[in-house]
Amino acid sequence: MTDLIKLSAADLGGLLADGSVSSVEVTRAHLDHIAAVDTDLHAFLHVAADAALATADRVDARRAAGERLGLLAGVPIAIKDVLATRDMPSTAGSKILEGWIPPYDATVVKRLRDAHLIPLGKTNMDEFAMGSSTEHSAYGPTRNPWDQERIPGGSGGGSAAAVAAFEAPIALGSDTGGSIRQPAAVTGSVGVKPTYGGVSRYGAIALASSLDQVGPVSRTVYDAALLHDVIGGHDPLDSTSLTDPWPSMAAAARAGLADGALKGIRIGVVKELHGDGFQAGVKQRFTETLALLAAAGAEITEVSAPNFEYSVAAYYLILPAEASSNLARFDSVRFGLRENPTDGPVTIERVMAATRDAGFGPEVKRRIILGTYALSTGYYDAYYGSAQKVRTLIQRDFDAAFEKVDLLVSPSAPTTAFKFGEKLADPMAMYLNDITTIPANLAGIPGMSLPMGLAPEDGLPVGLQVMAPAKQDARLYTFGAAVEQLLETHWGHTLLSRAPALAPLEMFASEEGVL
């Protein structure tokens, strides 16, 4: 029997469709693996084992009755805890929402259910998606499956670790400044931030509304494309949702597997997003990947985006400003925590302040205070207003670059996974880590991270970031699938097949034919 947890979502979908395996078997295999490894890893905040098996059983019954279901029907999926689920707690990694079960599903979650996917549970994240390491989760960090002393990236470290550790074939993430792409890079998995407005945010607990975007997390580019097709498209419940018709991302990914798919593609290397400050092994794998692309017929040129240097500064004004407004909803009245002040009169204002003190962690407080400052009378133009102007300049840099090239590439992150605690004491050091991913969010364009090797000095995964013009998400999938095929042919294996085994007992058992 094949090890079901090692299969891609696409392959599982094939086996489910032809009746080789049942969704209950596939779901149980993943739940067993979660039970074996997640005590250490802590990718999940909530595992819905019974509900998942019951849903799987219903999907099996529909198939048995002869119903033709979608390509991912019966395939398990993990859901980032930022998304509202009517049958599971939705905390966004915060104590202020501990145990909260929303009365409705996020649109993307509803679409998963409609396509008969099997929600396994909710994945860990930095509180309200503020962070690059999951160290800011109120429920403790997630560990990187490649090295458990290191961060899995953030904010969506739980979703990335879950797919990298074979706890789920695919997952949902959200990306405000890199929260899908950077965790993908440091865990050797794939993550896509769609075009702003390409995927509904209805039911996604808001961080910064002009930047947030929901997207797929997976082990292969094709799986990300299949999931994108399920969750994408217009949603009347999200006023920022684009009404454009979208091509099939799965078809776009399949097109990338054709011979000569890379021939003549114009690739721009962003001068400002590699070089100084980037780890040697990251630079080395990036240079090698560019050489492979050139050998496969891609035209590589360097492009300059001079204003990217201001992107982190702009982002850390815009994000806190929007977050300070969005998080005003946590007021102890309608849902979430209520905490009374320890002394003095119990008025609603004092209860609100006591609740927000008790319910928010240090990074959330830091960003709310920063955002409140940036929006204050007398400072608004100098900070928030200036940051919005930088946003225009960054869009212009992208426009100029995309006049010359089809796609832009850079390393997905300046370094491989860093150790827990390494950047915790210095907020600016943590923020600067987002330099590669932030520009795409500021401009609203789509971006993907896929594995491009292991850094020689530490043996940890390195990610390639690919960016396309707004609404050209399909181009990312075609190119991403082509690059993935090129690299895996070159290596002779997938990157994740090199990851250390997490459950030695399980491994011995399967080697001895017990499982």
């Binding site: 929303p102 009374n340 927000r356 919005q388 946003r391 225009t392």
Partner: protein, 98 residues
């Protein structure tokens, strides 16, 4: 330095309705000073001729038809409330008694 004072941080905390401890105010004063010093770099290129962008994909007048659609029931809306009184959210007094 950007000259962020503890008094300013305490004022911001009261605007943001977060009951910060003196220790939190002290450490946030340092953090905020450093972050503001770093992010004010945006002013170098934010010249008057550059228009501001508030939204990456500008959309205007996103309306739907003015028809009644299903919404949350009272029970659903109150399902996460910390306290309730019948069909209403129950809150502490708004005004302090003298």
């Amino acid at each position: 330095m950007s000259g962020i004072t503890a008094e300013q941080v305490a004022h911001l905390a009261s605007l943001a309705r977060i009951d910060l401890s003196p220790e939190e105010i002290a450490s946030l004063t340092i953090d905020l000073g450093q972050i503001v010093e770093s992010v004010k770099k945006v002013q170098e290129v934010a010249t008057p001729d550059v228009p501001a962008t508030s939204h990456p994909m500008p959309l205007t007048n996103v309306f739907r038809d003015d028809v009644v659609v299903p919404s949350l029931t009272v029970e659903q809306a109150l399902s996460g409330a910390p306290d309730r009184d019948g069909d209403k959210f129950r809150v502490p007094p708004i005004l302090e008694e003298d």
